[in-house]
Amino acid sequence: MHRTSSWIILPLVLLLLIGIAGCGGSSSVKRAATPRIAVIISTLNNPWFVVLGDTAKQHATQLGYEVVVFDSQNDPAKEAAHFENVIASGYAAVLFNPTDADGSIANVRRAKQAGIPVFCMDREINDTETAVSQILSDNYSGCVDLGRYFVKQVGESGKYVELLGLVGDNNTWNRSRGFHSVVDRYPGLQMVAQQSADFDRAKALEVMEAILQANPAIDAVFCGNDAMAMGVYQALVAAGKDKQVKVFGFDGADDVVKLIREGKIVATGMQFPKLMARTAAESADKYLKGDRDFPQKIPVAVHLVHQANADKYGDYGRKDTE
């Protein structure tokens, strides 16, 4: 009799637990005594993202949190594992730089369900209901400005090359589309080669050397980030063409801003990693102190940096505003 009753009770207890777990969508994992913030970055193999992660860590630490930085190494599986870890360990908030606009939504949703607020930095996710707020760099508009300046500098006719970043990354295409929304309006501007160099300086050097073999007479190169612009410039110097080919980058890396001042690279789009990281850390702090009034998206403008204004920029920002 007793034996039978225990095997009846077991399924009932299980059902009750299933119900409780299901209703606990916004329940929170027990928090550590000192609140901890996780900074999850798409990759720390690029100095720009290192600045983003370090600044987020620095500001969150100043605000009184224990901070751990996670490197997703551009791998959505690693990113998902970081979120599992963060949720299980009871972090208070996540400052997040996603690897994939669609693929990262599920991770943010899991954190939300566990009661952990997520603040996206630089890159957006294609969902407006999961992250508390998204502090985003407007890559498309930044490259529209860069495209306009490109036409001013190169003229309405000429031959150019485009080096793309990672082809699976949204920012690669936002930048390329912004740029082409301008230059494609000028039929005299002919793109003789478009290749990916994965946002990587060494690969850009290699790709550019090959392109120059097939297309020795080009007027300009548009690069989807500054690391590639540095690689391209290096290839042009080696080929003795650095004076005749105009190079354009994107990011606002310090070494490129320096070369713009020296007249060696024409322009870049300055993103503001420090401003975005600081805004994300401050937003997380406000949220954890009870504030719930956040815009879903906070666009951060990209500034065009060229030789005439390069002195106003440096250290990943504008000198008079950061």
């Binding site: 299980l14 299901g22 606990g24 209901e129 407007d138 400005d145």
Partner: protein, 214 residues
């Protein structure tokens, strides 16, 4: 003894299940409204948005525009004050925008713009109406009619700018080029984007979405 052991087994299984379900719940209870919103998703049609704007642009925007002479006077007196009073901006660290209306006399016709004098004999009262390819977000952000948070992603928000610019190129720029002979009077409503105050305020470069001969 045996009964006790059975209860220990039951309790252990229940505890293990509880831990498992805590981290991996089999379902979630959500409000119906929230579930419906999720399933409906969002579809943004930039052409439809611009159609609506175009039909209502006199009442939705022209009526709110600052007078160009008042704006230029305010800018000359105190840029910061003019910005505080008349401009709007989107997000952090970027450009700001003026929604502006006025009437001026054509002083020159250039490749990508038409220069207007708002007051005869006062060169500081000149503005330039864009007549080349239209790029950027001046009208989208200058009119203040759309909020980035209403768009599921920034690509949709940028598609709106592209469509607005395309409409202006198709329907406003040709009419302006036709009217713009030196000495002719032109009435306009449009938006100016100020990224760099040193270069963008003199002359104020305006993307017009309404032009007509008064």
């Amino acid at each position: 003894m045996r009964r006790r052991r059975e209860w220990i087994i039951v309790a252990s299984v229940a505890a293990a299940t509880a831990v498992l379900l805590y981290f991996l719940p089999l379902f979630h209870v959500v409000p119906l409204d929230q579930a419906r919103q999720r399933s409906e998703g969002t579809a943004i049609d930039p052409v439809a948005l611009v159609d609506r704007f175009w039909a209502e642009r006199w009442t939705s925007s022209a009526a709110r525009a600052v007078d160009a002479v008042d704006l230029m006077t305010a800018v000359q007196q105190d840029r910061k004050s003019a910005r505080r009073t008349h401009s709007r901006s989107v997000g952090v660290g970027g450009a700001y925008y003026y929604l502006v209306a006025g009437t001026g006399r054509v002083t020159s016709v250039e490749k990508d713009s038409v220069r207007l004098s708002l007051r005869d004999g006062q060169p500081q009262m000149e503005v330039a109406l864009e007549t080349g390819n239209i790029f950027g977000n001046a009208v989208r952000d200058g009119t203040g009619l759309w909020n980035v948070n209403d768009f599921p992603n920034s690509q949709d928000f940028n598609a709106l700018s592209s469509e607005l610019n395309h409409r202006i190129e198709q329907q406003v720029v040709p009419a302006l080029r036709k009217e713009a002979t030196v000495g002719a009077k032109v009435r306009f409503v449009g938006c100016a984007e100020i990224m760099d105050e040193e270069t963008d305020l003199h002359p104020l470069r305006i993307v017009p979405f309404i032009v007509e001969a008064p």
